[in-house]
Symmetry: C2
Subunit: 215 residues, 2 copies
């Protein structure tokens, strides 16, 4: 590798290949793209990386990445402070925020239980969550971990950690994804959608409100 690439191209490729989903071939493509960029464009990218590390910290309350501490959500007086939505990663909170369907606060666990990958309970931001959930103003903790095995295990662990606190604990609804077609849903999805079926109110459509109260 050192022979066919120059030293600095080789180092850039090496660093790029550490990124998630970036193999050796993709790292090469990205590196050559950067080489073809104008000097100004390339330096803009380098500066953006530098700046993001300098400006962005984690919110000391919810652990979301933010340029202020507390973050914009935690310090917004219009947010519903009685509800905390617990997610695995910062970008999960971004996805929920983008859905536009949530007005409460967040708590980023900064990981999930995965003992084989070395992620143990003490690697999560559980202590902060327990302190927050124990506050009088909090009524509900929504466990919005991923719908996979590690996400399930993490949700169960968090539930047990918060056991005894006077808060309602809820999970995101499981079912067929909105906009999807039944023939493409797999068996597990359909089984969960059936199990969690909701009754339609007579005279009006089953709506999301009806579903939320079931929880």
């Amino acid at each position: 590798m050192a022979k066919v690439y120059t030293e600095s191209i080789g180092r850039l490729m090496e660093l790029l290949s550490h990124m998630p989903g970036v193999g050796e071939k993709t790292a090469e493509r990205l590196a050559y793209h950067i080489l073809r960029l104008s000097r100004q464009e390339a330096l803009a990218l380098a500066d953006a990386i530098r700046e993001v590390k300098e400006k962005v910290k984690q919110c000391s309350i919810c652990y979301q990445f933010a340029e202020t501490d507390p973050c914009a959500v935690c310090s917004d007086p219009r947010r519903d402070r009685s509800t905390i939505c617990v997610v695995e990663e910062a970008k999960d909170a971004v996805a929920i925020e983008q859905s536009g369907g949530y007005r409460g606060l967040y708590h980023v666990l900064c990981g999930r239980l995965a003992p084989l990958e070395g992620m143990e309970p003490e690697d999560l931001t559980l202590e902060g969550l327990m302190r927050r959930a124990g506050s009088d103003e909090v009524d509900e903790v929504i466990l919005a971990t991923n719908a996979d095995m590690e996400g399930e295990a993490t949700a169960l662990y968090v539930r047990e950690a918060l056991e005894g606190l006077p808060v309602k604990m809820t999970r995101l609804a499981r079912g067929i994804p909105s906009g999807s077609q039944l023939e493409y849903a797999n068996a597990a999805v359909l089984a969960e959608a059936l199990e969690g079926r909701t009754e339609m109110d007579r005279g009006r459509r089953a709506d999301t409100e009806g579903r939320a109260t079931r929880q």
Copy 2:
């Protein structure tokens, strides 16, 4: 977008999403990966981008990216100076170099003919190639453009541009890729492999040498 991401995360994602094969979702994943990097790791990446732009220039002879001018290949006295291998992009020369089967020089066209994308003959480094190919020491120009439509068109154009110079012009062999299975080769590949079939020498296997002399 400005609302859910901080300004600096948004800008980093925007710049990352300009890279080839990086969509909005991948840009988000990469940005959050950079956020989770240690400060030292992130700055190493920023510095590597900066450094590659500062150190790496294009060789004034063959247009390969290099930290010296002429590049390591053009200035290597052990290279066979009678042969120039013409490629579309710098990384194509890297791929040929990695194959270990070539000891001549290169010439990077820095593109290919693609009028619909605005790539015209004058955008290629043809002038330099014509000057080089016209030198007494050059006997052969290998047209190693891609085996697709634009690559073919580019090879034909280069051939015409060099018409009249006393050099042999060759194309890379077409056929079934080494190590592949016939049942997975498509019809066009098989047709070209049949058309270009080579005679086996009696008493020994058809070897690459036999093939090369056919050209």
